[in-house]
């Protein structure tokens, strides 16, 4: 797949490698981009509001909706009893209701859905719902669930060698407990679905979803329809980040249920508070670990338990815990290792996919181990990181028995160390800290290695559909969804490159289950790898047909047909691409093609925790520097240097946007974004007034970002590019460990710091470390 025409000197507009603007940039800034809630509203539209559980855990004794149904403006109200099909949208494990059935298991769980002529009427009527509960004891935390042995899926274990024996003979041992907070997606556009009845009882659903095929499947299941009766379309989302992978099915299904019953169009758009109360988030984890290591800090043995708060049902938690384990090695070889993963059942929102999908939690856990070892030995953490790096020819097998074949971490970290002037700054910061009693600086360099492919192998497939019209314009469709990450533009650039036409001749179209079926979620960073490859295959099919036709039409050898810059050369004949398309049509050449791609090489035996779950790894590293006020815990990230590997970039501007955006989002996760639940399990941080994602001034004033130059994917991906959606989030680990570095400088001892490192946690970590409290 690496034989793209070599015409870099005169490329078409928007060719592969061009830093072209996002396809919708002009519409974004003009307010002209249409999101689901902006679609012109059909007449007779109804709006939905859900009555939510006030209890973390209770039996539902009775539901009486008589007064709701007779309230002004109310057209219909439903509970679980009104569902004609199966009340189950579990993506992995059956039994996940859209409306609570017999039992509520978190504060905010939808119990009743009301359709009314306005959202105000629906909400007002909600107060008239009479739901009686028998409150039950609630399990709210990982610790409580672990103590009671409550899980949403069986625990998993990765192991190689004998960790217990290796620990016993290790020259040094250290153990600790590390708490990692969750994170709300805070996509700016909340969950929304618009269901419009069609003839024959069919439904057209506009959903803000990363996974239209799953919405289609779940709506059909809930309503008792065949999948072909449900069409799901999404042009764009106002952000997704994993929060629109499984979560939209609930809202689409509720809207569809009410549309089916009322035979009217129905919109369900959550306001921010309801969205944050109802939907799952990034899993918070509690990690307990024990490590053995030598005098250099080289890890000889690791026994680590990673326990996630899954929430009330499984959702994707088993796969997320798996991915945490897949990344609990990060870039480090661990000779004897046992990793255990627990998806703990709690009476809280069902936590779900979020950029990194458990990977960030696994990765920061091993970074915590390495950092603790370095502090125990009094060595610079970078030196300890280095001695643990995977080798390229030996010491290169992961805890899941996959050989790391494409390791570039040594060179990448060396380059970043030089470029960021790490050693000089290390010395300068140590000097500053010796003379500054109140303000302290911290510095850290962290690397990352992130596995690319869905670990459920069958998801690694994609389809595309390409039409060329007789005027030479092109219609492009594929199974990927656009959530801001620039996928649509990158795929269009790949097609522009193949057909050698300007990218603006290609119409990017909404993802639609009627066009490309049985699609995978746009997730796992794999959107371009999968859909770009599928579209490339479709484009090559059409190019091949056109080349065959041109050779015959102009009576030249096929090798004499070349596509370049909106024209086609056939020997001495040069015609515009559009002319050739028109000629081909009249010659009855098919100008429409599908493309289908499946990722090669991968396999995963989940029962035995062995295999090659990933086609390749993405790499990156970051240096962060912080300034901390040891009297208040306030801090500022003053500089960050990011070096990230995107392989051969299809669009460097878009890729850089992913790197920067991922870093800042990761920084938010590890610093200011704190999910705070009260003793009754009520989330108190359910709006931006209380839940604090980064703002403009949180961006480091000195912010240096580079894509690794001259990089090419060692595997045969589309244009040798690499996935970029999730990995850069983990560059932010550097921020956390820089904060820990500053805390250590202030306390003069190895601190215990949990994530997110809010100013409060920073100050209390300093106080505790100074007070000689236990350290990890």
């Amino acid at each position: 797949m690496d034989d793209a025409p070599d015409l870099r000197a005169h490329p078409v507009r928007g060719a592969v490698g061009a830093a072209a603007a996002h396809d919708s940039a002009h519409k974004h800034v003009a307010g002209a981009a249409i999101y689901v809630d902006d679609i012109p509203e059909p007449p007779d539209l109804l709006h939905v509001w859900c009555v939510m559980s006030p209890h973390a855990h209770a039996r539902i004794r009775s539901i009486d909706l008589a007064d709701v149904r007779s309230a002004p403006g109310v057209i219909d109200a439903v509970s679980a009893a009104d569902i004609p099909g199966k009340n189950d949208i579990g993506p992995m494990v059956a039994g996940e209701p859209i409306l609570a059935e017999g039992i509520v298991e978190y504060v905010g769980q939808p119990v009743v859905a009301i359709a009314a002529t306005s959202i105000k009427a629906a909400r007002t009527a909600g107060a008239l719902a009479r739901v009686e509960y028998d409150v039950q004891p609630a399990v709210l935390t990982v610790d409580d669930a672990l103590a009671q042995g409550l899980f949403v899926a069986p625990p998993v274990e990765f192991k190689r060698g004998d960790a217990a024996a290796a620990l016993a003979r290790a020259p040094n041992r250290l153990s600790g407990t590390f708490r990692i907070g969750g994170q709300d997606h805070f996509y700016l556009e909340g969950q929304v679905a618009l269901a419009i009845p069609q003839e024959d009882g069919d439904l057209l659903i506009h959903s803000s979803t990363q996974h239209p095929s799953e919405v289609q499947k779940m709506v059909a299941k809930v309503l008792g329809l065949a999948a072909n009766a449900v069409t799901v379309e999404v042009r764009r989302m106002g952000g997704g980040f994993g929060g629109k992978e499984t979560q939209p099915a609930m809202f689409a299904a509720i809207a569809a249920l009410l549309a089916q019953r009322t035979r009217r169009p129905v919109k369900l758009r959550l306001d921010r508070d309801d969205d944050m109360m109802i939907t799952g988030k990034r899993h918070d984890f509690v990690v307990r670990w024990q490590a053995g290591f030598d005098g250099e800090g080289r890890i000889t043995a690791l026994d680590m338990d990673l326990a996630a708060r899954a929430g009330h049902v499984a959702d994707l938690s088993p796969a997320i815990v798996d991915r945490a384990l897949f990344h609990a090695d990060n870039c480090y070889y661990i000779p004897d290792v046992r990793l255990r993963g627990f998806a703990c059942k709690t009476h809280t929102q069902s936590n779900t996919a979020f950029r990194g999908f458990g990977g960030p939690q696994g990765m920061i856990a091993i970074e915590e181990v390495v950092d603790a070892i370095a502090r125990r030995l009094g060595r610079d953490p970078l030196a300890v990181r280095r001695v643990n790096f995977y080798g390229t020819t030996d010491r290169n097998v992961t805890p899941y028995h996959m050989v790391v074949e494409d390791n570039i971490v040594h060179g990448l970290v060396d380059e970043l160390e030089r470029w960021a002037d790490y050693q000089e700054r290390r010395r300068a910061i140590d000097a500053f800290n010796r003379t500054s009693p109140i303000l302290k600086k911290g510095l850290a360099l962290t690397p990352l290695k992130f596995g690319i492919s869905f670990t459920a192998t069958f998801y690694n497939q994609a389809g595309a559909l390409l039409h060329v019209y007789t005027d030479g314009s092109v219609h492009l469709n594929h199974g990927g969804t656009e959530m801001g990450q620039g996928l649509f533009m990158k795929v269009a650039q790949i097609v522009a490159e193949e057909l050698q036409i300007d990218v603006d001749r290609i119409k990017i179209s909404a993802t639609n289950t009627g066009k490309v079926p049985n699609t995978s979620a746009t997730a796992a960073s794999a959107g371009t790898d999968l859909n770009g490859a599928a579209a490339q295959i479709a484009a090559r099919t059409i190019r091949g047909r056109l080349a065959d036709f041109a050779a015959a039409h102009f009576a030249v050898p096929r090798e004499a047909v070349r596509f370049r810059r909106n024209e086609v050369e056939a020997g001495a004949n040069v015609v515009p691409f559009a002319t050739l398309a028109a000629l081909a049509y009249r010659a009855r050449v098919q100008l429409s093609a599908t493309g289908f791609y499946k990722t090669p090489k991968i396999h995963w035996d989940r029962d035995n925790a062995r295999g090659r779950p990933f086609l390749y790894f993405a790499y990156g590293a970051a240096v962060a520097e912080v300034l901390v006020d040891t009297l208040t815990g306030e801090y500022k990230v003053t500089r960050a240097d990011l070096l990230h590997d995107v392989g051969h970039s299809i669009n460097p501007a878009i890729d850089r946007g992913q790197v920067e955006g991922g870093f800042i989002q990761g920084m938010g996760w590890l610093t200011t974004e704190e999910l705070w639940f009260d003793a009754k399990g009520r989330l108190a941080t359910h709006a931006p007034s209380t839940y604090k994602i980064p703002v403009a001034s949180d961006l480091p004033r000195d912010f240096r970002v580079r894509l690794l130059e001259g990089a090419r994917n060692a595997e045969d991906t589309v244009h040798r590019s690499k996935a970029v959606g999730e990995p850069p989030l983990m560059l932010a680990n550097a921020v956390f460990f820089a904060l820990k570095d500053a805390v250590a400088a202030a306390a003069g001892a190895a601190p215990s710091l949990a994530a997110p490192a809010t100013p409060e946690r920073v100050l209390l970590a300093i106080e505790d470390a100074r007070g000689g409290a236990a350290t990890p």
């Binding site: 830093a19 603007a21 996002h22 940039a25 519409k27 974004h28 800034v29 003009a30 307010g31 999101y35 809630d37 902006d38 997606h185 996509y187 700016l188 556009e189 764009r236 106002g238 952000g239 997704g240 980040f241 306001d271 921010r272 500054s436 009693p437 109140i438 303000l439 801001g484 990450q485 901390v628 006020d629 009297l631 208040t632 500022k636 501007a653 850089r656 946007g657 920067e660 955006g661 870093f663 800042i664 200011t672 704190e674 705070w676 108190a684 941080t685 709006a687 931006p688 007034s689 604090k692 994602i693 703002v695 403009a696 001034s697 961006l699 004033r701 809010t758 100013p759 409060e760 100050l763």
Partner: protein, 490 residues
């Protein structure tokens, strides 16, 4: 003519798309955002939070400026009620590009710098930048960060948006609003009212009196009417708590209450003056107050929210009261029976309860100058530097005479059910030598003053530890030999 005697059916009139736009029959608690998206189906402006925190709904209000031009103020349309548009020009993202589609310089800069990804927050950023562009074509990075503190983006990490803001001045030097300023001023002149607006729809009455006389007449007849000032909290009572109001009196058009002026030595801030109007005057009192109040919410909120509202609200975590307590401010309460002045410390009585009597409003806040020889500082702690509600706010005014503390006013927020001075700590300081030992005694005395809040913004342990340490920081800063502060704009 009294408002009472007039029709209840004055239409709301404002300028939109260069023409007069009238609203009747729309409930007065309808937000501008709801009106744009719901009634007009003008969907460029987005809802991200409905509480004035994310900025996706940002629109710009234009009004005649004293210099003959126009002022452009960014506000959150999600918490502005439609009657507050009366007499103003509403500019939305749809208005910025030229009729031929040519983008406004701020829009073009956003495209050129790759400033949008998902695009949902983008209209709000564009409108904040548009307002900034009209004030300053070549803003500093600090000014940009300040202007954008009320706009959240979850995709880009902000770098390309900051680049766009710093590059926007390279585009055209004037836009269509500059070209058409005279026409718009003329239109706004035609919309000006001599007396207050009286409007009703959907079972809610709304008055916008133009004079105190009008106001007190209305309040006398309708003592149950709710007082609306900037709406930055009131708006949430509607959008978040879904409360219903039958009668609302808005102070936003009452010129007498908008004044910020010197009265001798005393700074007098009208009860309905916005934080934007008051900020330069407060900043002139002490450099800390510039930085402190620039961390008060966002530009959009400060453009709408009022000093009087912040005080009358009596929130234990408002940013205004701790500073005003340390400055020894007084509050002027006025009703039909006349005005009375109260020390601010006596105004706050219990959680969300004040000395206001029915029919009274906060007419002014009077801030005396700092006495000579007074050391002053204002500190705010929050999870995030910009646009966050305080975990803890503190302002200290300590007068030192001949090495001894002559007087101390220590105002705190977030430490009790009301904004409160630390009486025990003040007593521990007063009359003592200004020394580390004295400060340490005062730090310990805070235990007697406060049982701090323990909530999502901070634990009681953190609040107490940080409160003590802020006194220690104040001491260190008085000695002037060590660096003590981390700032957002570092």
């Amino acid at each position: 003519m009294s408002s009472e005697g007039r029709s209840l059916n004055d239409p709301i009139r404002f300028a939109l798309d260069g023409a007069m736009h009238e609203i009747t029959g729309v409930a007065p608690t309808t937000t501008v955002l709801e009106y744009l998206r719901g009634e007009l189906r003008r969907c460029g402006t987005k809802e991200g939070c409905a509480e004035g925190d994310c900025g996706a709904c940002t629109v710009v209000l234009a009004e005649p400026a004293p210099d003959g031009g126009l002022t452009y103020r960014a506000v959150n349309s999600c918490i502005q009620f439609v009657p507050t548009l009366d007499g103003r020009a509403l500019i939305t993202v749809e208005n910025l590009a030229a009729p031929d589609g040519t983008l406004h310089p701020v829009q073009q800069a956003m495209v050129d710098c790759h400033g949008s990804q998902c695009g949902f927050c983008t209209p709000g950023f564009v409108m904040s930048l548009f307002a900034l562009w009209h004030a300053d074509k070549h803003p500093s990075r600090n000014a940009v960060e300040e202007a954008l503190a009320g706009n959240l983006c979850r995709c880009t990490g902000y770098r390309p948006i900051l680049d766009a803001a710093l590059a926007m001045g390279k585009g055209a030097a004037a836009d269509r609003f500059d070209t058409d300023a005279a026409t718009l001023r003329t239109l706004l002149g035609r919309l000006a009212r001599d007396t207050g607006l009286s409007y009703a729809a959907g079972g809610t009455r709304f008055w916008s009196p133009h004079s105190k006389a009008e106001l007190f007449t209305i309040l006398a007849a309708h003592p149950d009417a709710a007082i609306l000032a900037g709406g930055t909290d009131f708006g949430l009572w509607v959008t978040k708590q879904h409360r219903r109001f039958d009668k609302i009196v808005w102070l936003g058009r009452l010129a007498e209450l908008q004044q910020v002026a010197r009265d001798g030595d005393v700074l007098s801030i009208g009860g309905a003056a916005s934080w934007t109007a008051a900020l330069p005057h407060l900043a002139a009192l002490h450099p800390d107050l510039d930085a402190y109040f620039k961390r008060f919410a966002s530009v959009q909120i400060r453009n709408a929210g009022t000093v009087g509202g912040n005080v009358a609200n009596a929130s234990p975590i408002g940013d205004g009261p701790p500073v005003l307590l340390a400055l020894g401010a007084a509050v002027v309460l006025e009703g039909a029976a006349g005005a009375r002045t109260l020390d601010l410390a006596d105004f706050f009585q219990a959680y969300r309860r004040t000395a206001l009597r029915p029919g009274e409003i906060v007419a002014a806040i009077r801030v005396p100058p700092l006495p000579p020889g007074t050391r002053f500082a204002a500190y705010k702690l929050s999870k995030r530097f910009d646009q966050d509600i305080s975990t803890l706010a503190a302002a200290f005014a300590v007068s030192i005479d001949d090495g001894r503390v002559a007087a101390a006013k220590l105002g705190f927020g977030g430490m009790a059910a009301i904004p409160q001075r630390a009486a025990a700590a003040e007593a521990a300081l007063t009359g003592q030598p200004w020394s580390l030992a004295t400060v340490q005694t005062a730090m310990a005395a805070l235990d007697r003053d406060f049982r701090p809040l323990d909530d999502l913004r901070g634990s009681a342990r953190y609040r107490m530890a940080a409160a003590r340490n802020l006194l220690l920081r104040f001491w260190h800063e008085s000695q002037g030999n060590v660096a003590t502060r981390v700032t957002a704009h570092g």
